[in-house]
């Protein structure tokens, strides 16, 4: 039995607590460039229901994001298998992996290695704690902190290189 579950709580009641995160999962998929975030979220929830015994109920977001990311990767693999001709016919479907509301931020994010970018975004956009983000990425918290620090440095450098006026934080990050 999952240690987070109340002994008398039925599976539907437990799943209701997981299902409450449907919107954040759809947001996660949308922010990562999914062509159909609602479908990714729905499929994620269907998997969560089938594996409810494995889903941490205190905060299932790391588990849900891992599952959604796997579905996103499958979606990208399908797209990557298209021929060059297909791509030429449907260039609008070649969505970037991430799209922010700030073009400079988008450029800086796209300049990062994917794992650094994901570390940053799990904390900055999905509001996970470093420990939760580490869980979502399947790495140790200490390793995550190292990755996050490196990602912050690279991100700040990319922003600065793109003409962002330097701020104390950017200078501080650049100097570390």
């Amino acid at each position: 039995m999952n240690p987070d579950q109340h002994p008398k709580e039925g599976p539907e009641a437990r799943f209701r607590r997981v299902f409450a995160h449907l919107q954040p999962v759809a947001d996660y998929a949308a922010r990562r460039g999914s062509s159909d975030p609602e479908a990714i979220a729905a499929e994620t929830m269907a998997i969560a229901w089938r594996r409810l015994d494995r889903v941490p109920l205190d905060d299932p977001r790391p588990w849900l994001f891992v599952t959604a990311r796997n579905l996103l990767m499958a979606e990208r693999r399908r797209n990557s298998r298209r021929s060059h001709a297909d791509r030429a016919l449907a260039p609008q479907e070649a969505a970037p992996a991430v799209e922010s509301a700030d073009p400079a931020v988008t450029r800086a994010l796209q300049a990062l290695p994917e794992r650094d970018r994901e570390a940053l975004l799990l904390v900055a956009w999905e509001d996970l704690t470093p420990a939760q983000a580490a869980e979502a990425l399947g790495i140790a918290p200490v390793a995550f902190r190292v990755r996050l620090l490196r990602a912050r440095r690279r991100f700040a450098r990319s922003l600065a290189a793109d003409g962002l006026p330097t701020t104390p934080d950017v200078l501080e990050v650049k100097s570390t």
Binding site: M1, N2, Q5, P11, E12, R14, F15, R16, F19, L22, Q23, A26, D27, A30, D36, P37, E38, A39, I40, A42, M45, A46, I47, W49, R50, R51, L52, D53, R54, L71, A74, E75, R77, R78, S80, R81, R82, S83, A85, D86, E99, S100, A101, D102, A104, V105, T106, L109, L120, A124, W125, R152, F155, A156, L159, L164, T167, P168, D169, V170
Partner: protein
Amino acid sequence: MNAMDRLRASRPVSVPIEADREALFDRIVATPPSGAGPRPARRRRKLVLVAVGVAVALTAGTAVAVSTDLFGWHTDNTFIKDPRVWRKLYRDATHELRLPPGMAWPYRTLAPNTITNRSEPGGMAVGISQTAWECYWTEAIRAGDTGAERSAQAALTDLVRHHVVVAPPGSPENVAPPAGTRPPFAIYASDGGIQYVKHNYALAAAGDPSGVAQSCRANRGDLQIPPVR
């Protein structure tokens, strides 16, 4: 504004989900959960790995190493790194499968700098056929075309019966079915996934396309599904 604050401020706005959440919830919980019993069974996980005839593949020239237990499920350590081999296996599989009327098999190949189990192309073809028929069934139900509904149901029933195999519990991802299993086929993990698929098909057979529609949306990718005629 520092870099992290700027990153937080750039978070795209949330787009509210349009789907009926309660209907989605009800549809999901209509199938048994893994945690319902005292010893939960693992639920569906559709393996990426899929299988197609090894005998055909061996003629294609890529070096292989096979660890085989001829009398049962076994670990398949054969790999493809040549896209030509991958495409031949995929093409062979398409000859064994059907698509909805008017649909052509999409081009697929091995992604650059990738290796994969040589059973994967056939399973890819099975997945394409399955998704295509699910989408077709969805449209047929919505269009009220009972003939098309019957075609889709028959195709998917045949697909599940003859081109889907379920791996034993605890199998690794590179598991392969017993020798002699007729390819092509997709391998499902023993976690209830195929029961979920059958449940969705039962709903569709009763006129409710919600399950097959969700699967269609989640899996269709770039597939060009022709309209129901």
